[in-house]
């Protein structure tokens, strides 16, 4: 899973602030011997690795010192435990949920394919493709082809069970004894729905086809018979050698053989792959570069793992001229990336087409289903029961009627069971005996009543959600100007869930905070700097004389993209002679900051005429640091501000400008950061041949170094070589190698980096809280940091009682939980009354305890406690634990959960929650890719939930009820009529009218209202967050409303049927006139019903509602003007009679009267909060009173 990838929150940068003083005091004690206070913590991590992997490295002093490291160590150990072992159960749960929601970004375990490596003969595609059929480079993102479009699209569409129901009805209608509608007509509704979806799918697929075609027909330079010649992308095969020029897109996954840079470095932008815009470095192996430059035959054999989706790992080795060397992630460039800042590269294709990592990762995660939709299915079941009952009544009636008339059936003028004449005279005519006739009558009534289950509802809901998404995307209040990003709707099925969220699980770094790191403080050799921070420019202004004397060559040759404030005292100190322990420590401290990272400097010569520095230095270069983590960039920038400017980095060396002097350092090896070691180190050879290990530990926190003796260097080099060429367990071997040198370190100092809280976060959290939403923060921070963040974003307040759970064993946790429960009187009931607690409680729990709690049977205890607390803070949690906590709530309550995060470590949580929200932040797009909605800032969440969530919920809730009503009233009307046709399932309405009813006559207004209707303005909703409670109480859609609606439907259908029947009870009215009257009456009625409930009349709404009625009339007139129809001329005849119009008026008024009275009574005497707020908003009475008193509203 994700753990391997820089889990930001495991050790958040804010740790720096808190550990800072501890390091400081430890240093001041002056203990700079081997095994300094830093050592135990480093060693302990190492010893923990040893427990898992046998090490060659001799065991050193394993005494654990109880200094600041003591507590750290415990947490470290257990955290690692939590990741490796403790999370298995959560993993299980995740797997469970994967069945429903496929994880698009889950990586295969790449080590499991080792037995069967893929063999690539470089520049010999024939041999490469001889044995195995590797896929070509043609890609296909489209789902369909012209030939399979119809069957495949239909197959996919029929996954919706309701469609199968309608298909069954169409088939029923084809049976000779049952044909009610014209056979073609019965297909129409289903065909319509299928067609609309098919056209939508087809259009999307056509666009994909087009882009595929463009993509496949692009050309790249491929080595063919000794020369690079253009070849279409789709023709490229594995094993071929391809040359890519600057700014070109890479056509397939390739191992770098050589680049325009002699040292083999290349920069790529991986925007298309993971959304990160910064440049990443890739290297060609030194062994292969001569081959490319000398122009000789390119050859070699690459053994690599089978294609997989992990874009962060690549394991392979290469054999060239008998020599074998490793290839890793840094040697491969992936399809979809772009080459930048490099003239050209040459590479060998290893994966092509569908097997490239980009393509393997492009699977979309299937959609979630909204809560309301699952409730809707429950009500659909009720409708089916009604349907069944009605059919049963008709069938039984038919049976009894036949039984009563069975002797005289052939004498009835309107019933005949035998033929009259012709060849079949006397034979039975479509009469299959009374039981069979009864049965057929049942089936045919299903056909007549089929639209009781509203087929159009599904398509209506889809269209409405599309419209709602349009408005959410377009909302300018959710537009992030700093990143120029609009709100994104990645999932179209769960808009209305946003109105019912009860729990928000939030990540901290990058979600609540900006994740823009700023170097704030430093502790060097026991001395604390950072109290007086000035920007570099101001500092230079004031100390210009000093800088001139201390540094004859300008140190401001480099212009950073962002200003970094510097500490004047430290700055002055760095100007001194390089002598004395303290000064050397400072030197090495900044060297480490500048070298021990993976940051790439991008130089651009800037026209610096306007810059005041140009008076002194002509050659000013702008430098932009691009790296994978924002804090590394911050540290490198800080080092530059203090005069240690990193300006060149290749695979073999780095060049640093130290106060004007160029210092070239050879990089012998680099151990990248991983979450187990939690540190990173580089082995550096200085110009004077001394070798040092520079270590940055706890991610960015502590800086240390160590001199390596020749023997140590040799031992390490040997292990390093072996580890980095191995195909199996490379990462474990590398970890072991690192452990050899990352010990007995000398502490140089510590850094403090600040991450600011995002704008508007406290206000947003406060509003969410008022809205009755519980905000839980899940962070990788340590406890103290988490609490201080909690306070700064107003999550925790001073009047809250804090319950802290940080047990170290199962027993411990059990006791802590039960103590807390006893103390604060938490009851074990699943449903709690709000406000029974005397004091507001806040629960703070750490990942360590969560391991025991989530693993064991303490889940319910935690659940009881956590749900009775106002605030829950989880600190030191691993990604999978985040998902585990979400699951804890999701599986035990009916409440809706929302997870919001920005990093890869939040992906599992985002996918687990009912609604996943991604923040487009500094850490790539993994979270966004996995999310349902994505936005730029945390504070937009307030608007998303309180405004759009509320609207969407109200709209969809009403839409569903209205659609049930609309179809039921029509079906019931048919049902009453059938009772007066001797149960013979005759419909008075023409077939076309029945079909058009839900498709044309009444569909547009529901869609328009579902998209545009608005009960309250966004201002009111934001002013009174408590109005969000309507969603929690399910006010817009619930069983009670369903039944009320159904009773209303019953009344309306009776009025609809009986008014014309009584009016024309003894008259010459014919069936088509009656049908025409009913058709128009029902359409006007349902549209008036809708009009009565519309809360906001726009021009568009008027057009939709009245337009529908007009269109219905037009259709009826047109249908009655076609002579081949039996209903020819009906409407002309009818419209002349005043009775016809009077009966309309009576139907509409009488049918809507109960609903109107109910509505008036309800609104007048039992107004809902929404109703009152709406009145206040519209009437604008006493605007001062409307603003709810904060005291009242927060209590």
């Amino acid at each position: 899973m994700y753990i391997a990838y820089t889990p930001n929150d495991l050790f958040d940068v804010n740790d720096g602030e808190n550990l800072f003083s501890a390091v400081d005091t430890a240093l001041r004690e002056g203990n700079r011997e081997y095994c300094s206070p830093l050592k135990p913590s480093f060693c302990s991590a190492e010893s923990q690795i040893r427990q898992q992997f046998p090490l060659k490295c001799p065991l050193r002093d394993r005494k654990r010192m109880v200094s600041w490291g003591g507590s750290m160590e415990l947490q470290q150990t257990s955290l690692a435990f939590g990741i490796s072992g403790g999370s298995s159960r959560v993993q299980d749960k995740l797997n469970k949920s994967q069945r429903i929601r496929h994880k698009s970004t889950q990586f295969d375990d790449n080590l499991s394919h080792e037995e069967n490596p893929r063999l690539i003969y470089v520049n010999d595609p024939r041999m490469t493709n001889d044995k195995y059929e590797f896929t070509g480079n043609e890609i296909r993102t489209s789902k369909y082809t012209l030939i399979n479009f119809l069957p495949k699209n239909l197959f996919i569409q029929f996954h919706r069970v309701a469609y199968l129901y309608f298909l069954a009805i169409v088939f029923l209608n084809q049976l000779p004894p049952l044909a009610i509608f014209g056979r073609t007509v019965s297909l129409f509704p289903l065909l319509f729905v299928l067609c609309v979806t098919a056209i939508k799918d087809g259009y999307e697929d056509w666009r994909r086809h087009r882009s595929d075609r463009n993509e496949n027909n692009r050309e790249a330079l491929v080595l063919q018979s000794g020369k690079f010649q253009f070849k279409k992308w789709k023709k490229i095969r594995a094993g071929e050698v391809v040359k890519i020029c600057a700014d070109d897109t890479i056509p397939c996954d390739m191992v770098l053989l050589g680049t325009s840079d002699p040292s083999g470095i290349a920069y790529i932008q991986t925007m298309n792959l993971d959304g990160e815009s910064n440049l990443k470095t890739r290297y060609a192996r030194q062994e292969t570069t001569p081959m490319v430059f000398e122009g000789g035959t390119v050859s070699g054999l690459i053994r690599c793992e089978q294609p997989n989706r992990n874009i962060y790992e690549f394991t392979a080795n290469m054999e060239l001229k008998g020599q074998r060397f490793p290839l890793s992630q840094s040697n491969i460039i992936l399809r979809g990336c772009q080459l930048k800042n490099t003239e050209w590269v040459v590479g060998a294709v290893v994966y092509a087409g569908q097997e490239t990592k980009a393509m393997l990762n492009s699977a979309m995660s299937p959609s979630k289903r909204s809560r309301l939709e699952s409730y809707m299915n429950r009500e659909t079941l009720w409708l089916s029961v009604f349907l069944f009952t009605m059919c049963l009544v008709v069938a039984l009636g038919m049976g009894l009627w036949l039984q009563r008339h069975k002797d005289r059936l052939d004498e009835l003028p309107y019933y005949r069971k035998t033929y009259f004449g012709g060849r079949s005279a006397g034979k039975s005519y479509k009469f299959y005996g009374i039981p069979m006739e009864t049965f057929f009558s049942f089936l045919s009534s299903i056909i007549v009543f089929q639209i009781m289950i509203p087929i159009s509802l599904y398509i209506t809901m889809e269209l409405v959600r599309l419209g709602q998404s349009y408005f959410m995307i377009g909302d300018k209040h959710m537009y992030d100007t700093s990143t120029d990003s609009r709100f994104q709707c990645r999932s179209l099925n769960i808009n209305e869930d946003l109105g019912q969220i009860r729990y928000v699980f939030s990540d901290k770094t990058g979600t609540l905070t900006e994740n823009k790191m700023e170097f704030r403080k430093a502790s060097v050799h026991g001395k604390n700097y950072g109290s007086s921070m000035l920007t570099a420019d101001t500092w230079q202004d004031t100390n210009i004389a000093v800088s001139r004397t201390a540094a004859p060559v300008g140190k401001s040759r480099w212009k950073l993209k962002s200003e970094v404030p510097v500490d004047s005292e430290l700055m002055a100190f760095l100007r001194k002679e390089l002598a004395g322990d303290e000064r050397i420590a400072a030197h090495e401290f900044f060297l480490t900051l500048a070298t021990c990272n993976t940051v790439i400097p991008i130089l651009t010569r800037s026209s610096s005429s306007s810059c005041m520095d140009s008076e002194f230095y002509e050659d000013v270069e702008a430098i932009d640091y691009q790296g994978e983590s924002p804090d590394e960039q911050a540290l490198v920038a800080a080092a530059s501000a203090y005069g240690y400017t990193l300006f060149e980095r290749t695979s073999g060396h780095v060049v640093i400008d130290v106060n004007g002097e160029k210092l070239r350092l050879d990089v012998l090896g680099l151990h990248e950061f991983d979450s187990v070691r939690k540190r990173m180190s580089v082995v550096i050879r200085f110009p004077d041949d001394s070798v040092k290990v520079l270590v940055k530990g706890l991610r960015t926190l502590v800086v240390a170094s160590r001199d390596l003796t020749d023997a140590e260097l040799e031992e390490w080099q040997c292990m390093y070589e072996d580890a980095s060429t191995s195909l199996t367990d490379r990462s474990i071997k590398l970890r072991q190698t690192a452990a050899v040198i990352e010990c007995n370190l000398q502490l140089l100092g510590a850094t403090g980096i600040e991450d600011k809280l995002q704008e508007g976060v406290p206000e947003a959290i406060e509003s969410l809280r008022q809205a009755g939403i519980k905000v839980w923060v899940l962070t990788g921070d340590k406890q103290e940091t988490a609490i201080s963040i909690g306070i700064s974003c107003k999550l925790l307040t001073s009047d809250m009682q804090q319950i802290i759970i940080n047990g170290t064993s199962e027993e411990d946790c059990r006791n802590l939980l039960s103590d807390a429960k006893a103390k604060y009187g938490v009851r074990t009931s699943s449903r709690k009354e709000e406000g029974t607690m005397s004091a507001a409680l806040a629960l703070i729990i750490d990942g360590n305890s969560l391991v025991y709690i989530l693993e064991k049977d303490l889940e319910s205890e935690l659940f009881d406690l956590a749900t009775s607390c106002k605030v829950v803070l989880c600190c030191r949690v691993a990604p999978l634990q985040k998902a585990g906590i979400v699951d804890l709530i999701k599986s035990r309550t009916d409440d809706m959960t929302l997870a919001i995060g920005d990093g890869a470590n939040d992906v599992s949580m985002i996918q687990m929650a009912d609604v996943g929200v991604g923040i487009c932040g500094q850490e790539g797009r993994q979270a966004v890719m996995a999310s349902d909605f994505a936005m730029g800032q945390f504070r937009f969440l307030k608007r998303l939930l309180l405004v759009h969530g509320h609207w969407n919920y109200q709209r969809i809730g009403y839409l569903v009820l209205y659609n049930f009503y609309r179809n039921a009233v029509f079906v019931l009307m048919l049902f009453w009529y059938i009772l007066s046709t001797a149960f013979s399932t005759t419909s008075a309405l023409t077939d076309w009218s029945s079909v058009f009813y839900s498709v044309i006559y009444t569909s547009v207004p529901t869609i328009v209202v579902g998209i545009l209707d608005k009960d309250l303005s966004h201002k009111t909703l934001l002013e009174h967050p408590k109005l969000y409670g309507a969603g929690h109480r399910q006010e817009s859609y619930n069983m009670y409303l369903f039944w009320i609606t159904m009773i209303d439907t019953l009344w309306q259908s009776l009025v609809l049927f009986y008014i014309p029947v009584f009016t024309y009870r003894e008259s010459t009215i014919d069936i088509w006139s009656m049908g025409s009257l009913w058709t128009i009456a029902v359409v006007i009625l349902v549209n008036m019903h809708l009009a009565m409930d519309i809360q906001r009349w726009l021009l568009l709404t008027h057009m939709a509602v009245w337009g529908s009625i007009i269109i219905t009339y037009a259709c009826v007139v047109v249908l009655d003007s076609i002579p081949i129809f039996p209903n020819y001329g009906t409407i002309y005849h009818l419209a002349k009679s005043p009775t016809y119009w009077l009966s309309f008026l009576l139907i509409i008024c009488l049918a809507l009267l109960p609903r109107f009275i109910f509505k008036v009574l309800h609104q007048t005497f039992w107004p809902s909060d929404i109703q009152i707020a709406r009145e206040a908003e519209i009437l604008r009475k006493r605007p001062n009173h409307v603003q709810s008193n904060p005291d009242q509203s927060s209590s």
Binding site: I180, G182, T184, E204, R207, R408, L412, P413, Y414, F420, G421, G422, Y429, L466, Y470, I473, G474, D475, K476, Q488, C489, S984, T985, T986, T990, L1012, K1014, H1018, K1026, F1062, R1065, E1066, S1067, T1068, I1069, D1070, I1071, I1094, Q1095, R1096, W1097, P1123, P1126, S1137, P1138, T1139, L1142, S1143, L1146, K1159, T1164, W1166, P1167, D1169, E1175, A1176, E1177, I1178, L1179, S1193
Partner: protein, 368 residues
């Protein structure tokens, strides 16, 4: 979503278009009810008045016209070709009837809307035609033009007859035509025959477009006799009885126009009707009634609309009074935030608001 691209910040995309937001204020509700009441009551009165002015004579004759010896077995009487079917009845005109006086026959318990009359027969392929022929148990095509004489597939079980082993079409085919009503009425006043005009009783559109002037009845009622026979020398477009009969009734109790009497009938005049009682309604217990009626703008005699309108109008006025009463008893300032659920004090002034409907009425009664 690749489909959705929003680029503008217009009032539309921000959902801020000018809109009318109706709200049910007490004034609005009362006005609406008064308005409806004021409209409905006059309409009701007018309808009732119109209906009162219609003079209608109804006479059920199916049982009376069966001689008493057959009273126990009416079926035998009607089936037999030997029995005398004519029957004389006397009707008294209650009020002066102005011409035209419409003569209807009314059938009861007769399901002309039965699906058996509507069924399709042939298993047509789905794609045979985009417009499926909607007529059932009748062939509108055949009725319309001679060229479609053989279009009888929708007419079973009464579609063809065998002529020297060849299936020939029956015109008009199908059960509906076959079951055509065949009682006849002859009216006389003081032994002087009253002319019944049978022209123009069918819809003009039916005569002109649905029944062809070149289509002549053929082999109609040749096998099992169901009802009336047709003169084979008159084209269908002039067979108005058939056209009237073919316009299927909506309900099991229906009237069909028999003809028009174009003279005035004075009050208390006695009309003699000679009825040829041919049609068999006895097999299913159907009733036959002869109706003579004048007409008004509202149609025939029907008090329903008038009464319904009056009642509804009255109800609305009653609503006005009750709502005024309720608003006085329990006024609620609109938009008063103190009524918001989170502002309500459970023990305070608004506690009464919480009591539900029944107890609320009790509260109101206590206050009085």
């Amino acid at each position: 979503m690749s489909l959705l691209v929003v680029t503008s910040n217009s009032r539309f995309t921000q959902q801020e278009l000018p809109a009318c937001k109706p709200i049910l204020t007490p004034g609005w509700v009362i006005t609406a009810f008064i308005f409806i009441g004021i409209i409905f009551i006059p309409i009701g009165l007018a309808s009732l008045f119109a209906s009162e002015n219609v003079v209608e004579i109804a006479d059920r004759y199916d049982e009376d016209c069966v001689p008493s010896i057959y009273a126990s077995d009416m079926l035998a009487y009607i089936r037999s070709s030997q029995t005398n079917k004519s029957c004389t009845k006397s009707l008294t005109v209650p009020k002066k009837m102005k011409n035209p006086i419409y003569v209807y026959y009314q059938l009861d318990n007769f399901y002309q809307n039965h699906r058996r009359l509507w069924e399709e027969v042939e298993f047509s392929l789905l794609l045979v035609s985009v417009f499926p022929d909607m007529s059932k148990s009748r062939s509108d095509k055949q009725l319309r033009s001679k060229a479609n004489e053989f279009e009888t597939k929708d007419c079973s079980p009464e579609a063809t007859f065998l002529v020297s082993n060849k299936e020939m079409p029956i015109v008009p085919c199908g059960l509906i035509a076959w079951s055509m009503f065949n009682d006849t009425y002859g009216f006389s006043l003081n032994d002087k025959a009253i002319q019944v005009n049978k022209k123009g009783i069918a819809w003009k559109s039916d005569r002109e477009y649905k029944f062809g002037s070149d289509v002549y009845p053929k082999k109609f009622q040749s096998g099992v006799i169901g009802g009336a026979k047709l003169d084979e020398n008159i084209p269908l477009s002039q067979q108005e009885d058939l056209i009237v009969w073919m316009r299927t009734a909506a309900l099991p109790k229906f009237r069909k126009l028999y003809g028009k009497i174009e003279v005035d009938l004075e009050a208390n005049e006695k009309i003699t009707v000679v009825i040829q009682n041919n049609y068999n309604t006895y097999s299913f217990g159907g009733k036959k009634t002869l109706i003579l009626s004048t007409t008004s703008w509202i149609g025939g005699k029907n008090d329903f609309l008038g009464i319904a309108y009056l009642t509804f109008g009255g109800l609305c006025l009653f609503m006005v009074i009750s709502f005024i009463f309720l608003y006085v008893v329990r006024p609620r300032p609109l938009g008063d935030p103190s009524y918001l659920s989170w502002n309500r004090n459970p023990d305070g002034l608004f506690a009464q608001l919480r009591c539900r409907f029944l107890s609320d009425i009790l509260c109101a009664m206590e206050e009085f």
